[in-house]
């Protein structure tokens, strides 16, 4: 038996003793909760999406297996759906580009400032994200120094705006979900043995080749987790689109929210189910390609 196997056997033995009943007993309440308030609601959402849209909350809806709801929302809100995934994709890429150097710096270059930098990464969570998103309204405003500076550099026309544009929405999404990219990336990078990078350099690999062949592949689990944690919430978000965008930057979340507020429950449910289905398919395809099935 190798040492690794022996170590594993030691780890498993106390677990192996405790089989069956206690496990189920501990699980009863939490699983019941998840079943009643997560699984049943999803079923209820799917059934709502098949109601006859002619009803209302007061008169009640008739269950007619109205699959037509899906064609209606896909035709009416195709633009919003595509826009959501485009914005979420752009924000995810921006998070990778910004998050990777930050996670790398914290893992390998920060030295004794490591903990302080980590606190700075989670510091945005210490205050409400709605308030932080609102402060981007000020930062991107027409008279803020950022917009003025771009105008001086002629990167922004005299009548150009930053606020209420797709740029502002993607900036807000990137900002809000960046820590969710940095933290798993850091967790992955921290486990990379720096001697592997030295070995790459010793074998005459340029820093870039070492990064591409050694560091990047080893940080893949973090990159995959970060991408999912960024993309999924960004695709369903409507707060950034509402506070930083304009009526033509509305995302699928805005539409679902408005439909619920307007009482069009079957259409709202159909759109919600569509969003969930697209995300599940994309996530599965992505995980399969990235080859980290053990993530689940």
């Amino acid at each position: 038996m190798s040492i690794a196997q022996a170590a594993k056997a030691v780890q498993v033995s106390p677990e192996a003793k405790r089989r069956g009943r206690t496990g189920y007993l501990l699980l009863t309440l939490p699983v019941l909760w998840l079943f009643v308030f997560f699984v049943i609601p999803l079923v209820s959402l799917i059934s709502t999406s098949l109601f006859d849209p002619a009803g209302s909350l007061e008169t009640g809806y008739a269950m007619t297996g109205h699959v037509q709801n899906y064609f209606t929302v896909l035709a009416d809100y195709r633009e919003h759906i595509l826009r959501s995934f485009a914005y979420a994709g752009a924000a995810t890429i921006a998070c990778m580009v910004l998050g990777y150097p930050l996670a790398y710096a914290i893992a390998f270059k920060a030295g004794r400032w490591k903990n302080l930098m980590l606190v700075a990464v989670i510091a945005p969570f210490f205050t409400s994200f709605l308030i932080r998103t609102l402060s981007w309204q000020l930062l991107l405003g027409d008279h803020a120094w950022f917009a003025e500076g771009l105008r001086v550099l002629h990167l922004l026309g005299p009548d150009g705006h930053l606020l209420a544009t797709p740029f502002a929405v993607v900036t807000g999404l990137t900002y809000n979900f960046l820590p969710f990219m940095v933290l798993p990336l850091y967790a992955s990078l921290e486990k990379v043995d720096p001697r592997l990078m030295e070995a790459g350099a010793d074998l005459y690999a340029s820093p870039f080749t070492t990064f591409r062949k050694v560091t990047l592949p080893l940080s893949m689990p973090g990159l995959v987790a970060g991408t999912l944690l960024t993309f999924i919430p960004a695709a369903g978000d409507y707060i950034n689109a509402e506070l930083l965008g304009n009526p033509r930057t509305q995302m699928i979340g805005n539409v679902i929210q408005n439909l619920f507020e307007g009482g069009s429950y079957p259409e709202a449910a159909a759109l919600s189910v569509t969003l969930m289905a697209v995300i599940v398919v994309m996530v599965l395809a992505y995980i399969r390609r990235a080859g980290t099935e053990e993530l689940l």
Partner: protein
């Protein structure tokens, strides 16, 4: 390569990282600054003058402090229940082998993988079809918050449990501690920091949630919902006061925890 060139190459990543941190922190500076703003008009988008009035009267805008109280109540209750349920589940998933364990793992993971709008709207669909459409309020918010905190608690406590050296428990058993004593004196104290972290995470998730809450709140107004409403009418500077106070409080908690961990590590190494 010249010495300057080498220094730049060495510090390039660190410099980029610090710039990204600046991007993350700038909005917080704005929140702190605007808490001292004396706005010229209700829809002012600039810093018009310095005042301490907002800090003296944080409850001046109608309903703002009531919304904070509601959010704290829901946050505490949701944290309590989610931490309890999630810890039970984490123990079951790490410490026990049984049929359906994989399914239970997927069931924990799924809520984290669904967009908030889907989770919120499906809960609303359930409440409406169960005839609770008129009863939306405190209890429906609480149910929703326990739900989305639960998965995060399970993941956090699971990580702590999985990192535990099983030999410590074996040693306790070897020294004739029974199962209950081992759990009370060895397992629980070792897992406790993970449970605390999960509780803090739960509270901040609950306190900050808007999308799910907004769909299931009925007539109740939590603090994020108050902010959302104010954003449509013009934001009173007191919102930034509360945002700043939250930030300072949370930062103090985290730093205090860090300092304690450090000093106890020092005593132990002595």
């Amino acid at each position: 390569m010249t010495r300057v060139g080498k220094w730049v190459a060495d510090h390039l990543v660190l410099g980029l990282g610090l710039l990204v941190l600046l991007y993350l922190l700038t909005p917080i500076f704005v929140v702190v600054l605007m808490s001292f703003n004396d706005p010229a008009s209700r829809i002012s988008y600039s810093f018009d003058g310095f005042t301490l009035d907002n800090w003296r009267n944080p409850c001046a805008p109608n309903g703002i402090c009531e919304s904070v109280v509601l959010s704290v109540q829901i946050g505490l209750l949701a944290t309590l229940f989610a931490t309890l349920l999630g810890t039970l589940m984490a123990f079951a998933l790490v410490r026990h082998r049984f049929r359906g364990r994989g399914a239970a793992n997927v069931l924990t993971f799924l809520p984290m993988a669904s967009p908030e709008i889907v989770m919120g709207s499906s809960l609303l669909a359930l409440f409406v079809s169960a005839g609770f459409a008129g009863a939306l309020g405190f209890w429906t918010i609480l149910v929703a918050h326990i739900l989305f905190c639960l998965s995060f608690v399970v993941v956090t406590v699971k990580a702590r449990l999985a990192g535990l050296d099983p030999r410590l428990e074996q040693a306790a058993m070897d020294l004739y501690a029974n199962e209950v004593q081992t759990f009370r004196k060895v397992t629980f104290p070792l897992v406790f920091p993970g449970i605390m972290a999960a509780a803090l995470l739960s509270f901040s998730l609950s306190f900050d949630d808007f999308i799910i809450t907004n769909l299931n709140a009925g007539q109740e107004v939590t603090f994020p919902m108050y902010v959302w409403g104010a954003a449509q009418r013009g934001i009173p500077p007191q919102i930034n006061v509360i945002g700043t106070a939250m930030f300072v409080l949370a930062l103090a908690l985290v730093l205090a925890g860090e300092l304690r961990a450090r000093s106890s590590a020092r005593t132990r190494s002595r």
